[in-house]
Amino acid sequence: MSIVVDKWQEASLVSFSRGNSVQSTAVEIKDLTKAFGTNKVLRGIDLELHAGQVTALMGANGAGKSTLVKVLCGVHSANGGQIKMFGASYAPASPSAAIEAGVVTVHQSINDGVIPDLDVASNLMLDRLANGGGFFVNKRAIRVEARKLAALIGLEVDMRQMVSDLGLADRQLVAIARAMAHKPKLLILDEPTSSLSAKEAVRLFELLDRLRVQGVAILYISHRSSDIRRIADRIVAMRDGRISGVFEGVSLDYEGAVKAMLGHSMSEISLDIPMPGAPVLRLGDIALLPESEPFSLDLHDGEVVAITGLVGSGKSALAEVIFGLAKPAAGHMELRGAPYAPRHQAAAIAAGVFQAPKDRASNAVIQGFDITKNITLPFSKRHSKMGLLSRQSERTTAQRMVQELGIVCQHVTDDIGSLSGGNQQKTMVGRWMAEDANVLVLDEPFQGVDIKARRDIGAKIRATAKGRATVVMVAEMDEAVEIADRIIVMADHTIKGDHRNENIDLNMVLAQVAGSSETSGHINAG
């Protein structure tokens, strides 16, 4: 570890010493805005990226960081503002225009960057193959060129090997090496370590150190504190389409950046926290991963519990365990006193454990179905006799949910695609609120909805909480404070903190979100 730190300091010293002579602003973004329809995703971004520096970009889901990246790499064009590259105006019309201008992006999913069924050399020279240069392929010439490129970044594999036979780290290096063929001025890496092992990540960092010395500006998107501490010269936090904090200096304030990205403006809503009832779902010594620390958790009748944590903190893994999509590595569950171990989601639903999944477009909405059919989907049995559906019974339920949740539509037979995002989300929440649950898990129920819909959904969740245990998974601290009786913080696939939502010490909560373990023992005791 100490070696790594030394190296990091060395590298940053290099960059700072270079900085005195050549450090220049590589990219200058001024008042950049982007909206999709009425949804303003970027609300005026001002940001400078320096040559020979690694800038880490952090932001929760929906903060706008992927949109910012897509504007930079030419997928989207901005609505307003301007970008300058080394003083010259930069507005790429397409991804290939961006690459030509020296902005190269390595996407999160490695396989987007490589072609598995071609050999390494062809992958490295792919852009040249794709952009003309004769009809026949001169394999030897390509291998020679490719080898030069590989040497540049320390990629040591046989040029004739198939990319599909390489490990993830080597594939990633191939994608980056391919990017290097364009002599990038700005290199964007989107969660590059998410699929790498620790050892593989070290190799990536060594490469980034070299690139930094060569004067490349690097924009590094990640939430991992270990990554950021190791590689970043600067942290930029985004929130609600704006830059909410820039942190630099030798000792980077990672926790400050987390705070800036999650925000903690106190909400005006005052909650009336009821006394929790009897335990409904009890989790005993659950270990989500074989190596993660086991934890126990009781969810009570009438209680709304928010579980918060960054991407990769284990929130989703916990939701999957409760809903029967995955088995925990260890531990047991009890539902109203009886052992509970759902083998699949149908078993969970039969036991009254419901989950409204996150990302409604891919996990929930049935396009081509109307509101009614979307709402009654999981409980079609209840609306049918001998398999024959009763449209009347379905409509009664749908009308009730439309009314209770305030879904704005002309009729319950409106096609789901004709609704706004917020109303689609309400419909998806309504799907699971239409029947009585023992446990209701809502994974990111406020994703991509406006403040009004968020308040409506939140109020409805609280108003109906009696008789079940409710779990809401949220990344945004505001949302947790707004809705929950109790806030549970997860990091590293275990529970780091458990707070009653009253006079809550947000600094401590945010420290736990950032994964600091010093305080967690103390909190659990208290």
Partner: protein, 342 residues
């Protein structure tokens, strides 16, 4: 959706064209052929159309069911010819009666569907490839027992035996009898079978929760799964329905021909797939549906009969079918894009 468009706003001409365009085209075509093709508007020609539409339509209904779960069954044509050969074999070689012939065929169809379904959901073979493989397999297997020859009474088997069984009259009744409907001998049995199966498939898809869940799987498999639907079971069911319907088509074909003709049924696959896909465009459904499929089959049947009676050469038929299919597909998909835009 359809019921409420009227309440909300007056449909634009484009919407009307999308919705009733194909039905209008069908009627226009009938009028055209009646006026210009001699003997088109006669009972004889109607019987012929019905008979050719029935088998295609039954197979197309099976394809429709697999399309609903976002699958595809390329093996229906060869399943039908396998049923044709199997029923002949059961009666002519084993000398069993019509009941056993039909039963064996239905079991064979269900088994083929089961294997298709398991290949797709358990072995994760892509649907087109799994059913393509099954198609080749069936084309081959149906030729092995007779060393590639057609089956008829009095033929010599590979082991030197001479076959003595005959097609039972009850079996032939399925293919040859015609019911009176205003005009004597107008409706063949196969058409009644088509209408009954068409109604059952329609009711199953539109009125039962199972059909609803199958449409949900076709639209968003992941979401259906997270709502507790047993996706794999429904997919296997879809292929089994398809297999059984294909074998019904094969039985009817055998009953019409009265012998195990190895070469018949070549066009079954393409015609029924075309019918199911044309069905997307009927009434602006933009999704696979039983009613549309039957209209699609009727459309193709009338078109071919009309062209034949106008003395268009047989080799132009495939070209015309292809053109109709492409137009129908443009209709459907250009439109559903418009639908998804708002």
């Amino acid at each position: 959706m359809q019921a409420d468009t009227h309440k909300r706003a007056k449909p634009t001409p484009v919407e009307l064209a999308i919705k009733f365009g194909f039905i209008a085209l069908l009627i226009a075509m009938v009028l055209f052929f009646s006026a210009f093709a001699e003997n088109f508007a006669t009972p004889f020609s109607a019987v012929f159309i019905f008979q050719s539409v029935a088998i295609t339509g039954i197979l197309a209904l099976g394809v429709t069911v697999t399309l609903v779960v976002d699958g595809f069954d390329l093996s229906i044509g060869s399943t039908a010819t396998s049923a044709l050969m199997l029923s002949s074999y059961v009666m002519v070689v084993w000398e069993l009666n019509a009941f056993w012939a039909v039963l064996f065929c239905l079991i064979m169809g269900a088994a083929v569907g089961l294997v298709n379904g398991l290949l797709i959901v358990k072995m994760k073979v892509p649907d087109l490839l799994a059913t393509l493989g099954m198609m080749f397999l069936l084309v081959g297997i149906q030729r092995i027992p007779t060393e590639g020859r057609s089956i008829s009474t009095g033929m010599i088997m590979p082991d030197g035996r001479v076959t003595e069984g005959v097609f039972s009259p009850n079996f032939l009744y399925l293919g040859r009898n015609k019911f009176d409907f205003f005009i004597d001998n107008l409706i063949p049995v196969s058409v009644v079978v088509l209408l009954v199966i068409g109604f059952i498939v329609w009711a199953f898809m539109e009125l039962t929760r199972h059909g609803r869940l199958m449409y949900a799987i076709g639209s968003n498999e992941r979401a259906a799964e997270l709502a507790g639907t047993n996706v794999n079971r429904y997919k296997v069911l879809a292929y089994m329905i398809s297999g059984v319907l294909a074998s019904v088509g094969g039985i009817l074909l055998a009953a019409r021909l009265g012998r195990g003709d190895i070469a018949s049924g070549n066009n079954l696959l393409l015609d029924s797939v075309a019918a199911a896909l044309i069905g997307f465009a009927v009434l602006g459904a933009a999704k696979p549906n039983a009613f549309g499929t039957i209209i699609g089959a009727l459309f193709i049947g009338i078109l071919l009969q009309g062209l034949t009676m106008m003395n268009a050469p047989y080799y132009t038929q495939d070209f015309v079918k292809g053109a109709v299919l492409v137009v129908a597909l443009v209709f459907t998909f250009a439109l559903s894009k418009r639908g998804g835009a708002h």
